[in-house]
Amino acid sequence: MSAPDHRPGLIARLYTSYGLAAPVAVLLFVLFLSAPLLPGKFWIHVSTEILILGLFAMSFNLLYGYMGQISFGHAAFFGIGAYATAMLFVALKAPGGDIGVVQFLLALTVGPPVAAVAALIVGFFCVRLTGIYFAMLSLAFGELLFYIVFSWYSFTKGDDGIQGLLPPPFFQDPVNFYYLTLAIVTVALLVMWRITESPFGYIMRTLRDNQRRAAFLGINVRLHMLANFVIAGSFAGLAGALWGPFSRSVNPGLLGWQESGIAVFMTLIGGAGTFVGPMVGAVIYTFLQAVVKMYTVYWPLTIGTIILLIVLFAPGGVLGIIDKRIKARRGEAAAAAVEKR
């Protein structure tokens, strides 16, 4: 840090006016912009995965961090978005040839609306419940959709999944695809940020803190929860839409509860209380996974131990801990300043 002590730097000022989310977001964006500087295609691949899964985890946090409900079926919308895009992708692709850029972008756009429709139907029932019951019903719907995709071979190719989702030649270059993903995810997150800072976003926080009280303010609790469920589902659908062309295939596992679990992990590792928390969690989770898998097949053991340590010693996630540290230090500094006077 080159900024002199008495004049707070940009980062410190961002923290003061917008909280921890702003400086971390700026930092992340700079890191993401320069990620292709890392040598080799492997890290580009990892970075792309971080962006997509980060968007997915952040869409989950609209339900968890902002609305206070934990969904174990959120991957269903990720998977449905992925399948919708994949199916249109295959339909638009010239037989034996590449897909055109326009057709490719068109295929990407169907993910969110199709996921939104699914979220509307599932959400209609889920928002009648809260807490563990909400979690269980979302899990049951997610698993039902998983098995439908898994067993409906004629429509979804079942366990085989849909293969050969090769993007147009220009985007087959990992760096180009990466920047496309970065652009889409950035725009999506700006929109998401606006939503969380809107009156609607704050109504979500009232529902998280006290649903009954919110109802007495004249808020139709279920209708607002449903709206948020659909919004969260749409963003998950967008993440899913990007997943197909990224991994060149889609499979039913994308809808399963283990995939939902990944969003939960990332969110809690990063910190659900901060807007960018899940993205930070995605960075940590995916990066670690890439590194650990180079050395050992025992990745679950590693991540399991890390999660265990976070739950025991860092509740509130990485950002939660950092925020607490900064607040404590600033509190001490303020107290010291008062004493000096």
Partner: protein
């Protein structure tokens, strides 16, 4: 003056227990009155019935000429009835200003606005309500970390942000110091006097009840024992027997 609230033959039982039975009363516009009664008399249940939290088994509630019986709470709130709870139930992880602002947004029907910036909408009204309730200096404190008295004041502020024409207060001074309680009740009096807000409150402290209510309704085991001015209730023999006697007036 026209009746703003009319309650006819209100009936509620949980299992085999009648918690309110044949409750009849009405409130005139601009009236400030209290419901009193020993613990378990059905005061809170009555408020829950009037605000739609519990379903009535029989009877009718009419507000400003409209039947609101068994309407869901959010619809009743939108019609102009606000409620402050006995155990303060504000939004604990949000700041004081955010608490009130969201209540203001609900009143402005802005709750589905997803692209507006929350901090730029309804700011004046939020500031007005905060100032009114003496929470000006505590805007940025997280509500859950407030002192008990401040929580109750925020509870009131959130209720007032809905711009109600009828306000229910459940034990508005519970847990407050004597000074805080006096301040709160003076604020309620002021709202009633200056804005013509109709107020119905429950309260344990008989001093407050007799000083701040112009009409009393005494509930006992879910039944109205007596209704009238404080003087009338004080003079009533049954009232003395079931309740007032215990309170050594």
């Amino acid at each position: 003056m026209a009746a703003i609230l009319e309650v006819t033959n209100l009936h509620k039982h949980f299992g085999g227990i009648h918690v309110t039975r044949d409750v009849n009363f009405s409130m005139d516009e601009g009236e400030q009155s209290a419901i009193i009664g020993p613990n378990g008399a059905g005061k809170s249940t009555l408020m829950n019935l009037l605000t739609g939290y519990h379903r009535c088994d029989a009877g009718k509630v009419v507000f400003e000429g409209r039947d609101i019986t068994n309407r869901p709470p959010h619809q009743i709130a939108r019609m102009g009835i606000s409620r402050a709870f006995q155990v303060s139930s504000i939004f604990a992880k949000m700041t004081v200003a955010e608490n009130v602002r969201s209540a203001v947004h609900a009143q402005m029907r802005q709750t589905f606005n997803i692209f507006g910036v929350a901090s730029r909408i309804g700011g004046d009204e939020t500031g007005r309500v905060l100032a009114l309730c003496g929470l000006d200096g505590k805007r940025d404190i997280v509500a859950g970390e407030l002192a008990q008295g401040d929580k109750k004041r925020l509870e009131l502020a959130v209720a007032l942000a809905g711009k109600p024409r009828l306000l229910f207060l459940d034990e508005p001074t519970a847990g407050m110091s004597i000074d805080e309680a006096r301040g709160t009740m003076e604020l309620v009096d002021q709202l009633n006097r200056e804005l013509g807000l109709t107020v119905l409150f429950t309260e344990h402290d008989m001093g407050i009840v007799f000083n701040h209510a112009r009409k009393l309704t005494l509930l006992h085991r879910g039944v109205i024992v007596v209704q009238g001015t404080p003087a009338e209730v004080r003079a009533n023999e049954t009232a003395q027997k079931v309740y007032l006697g215990e309170h050594q007036l």
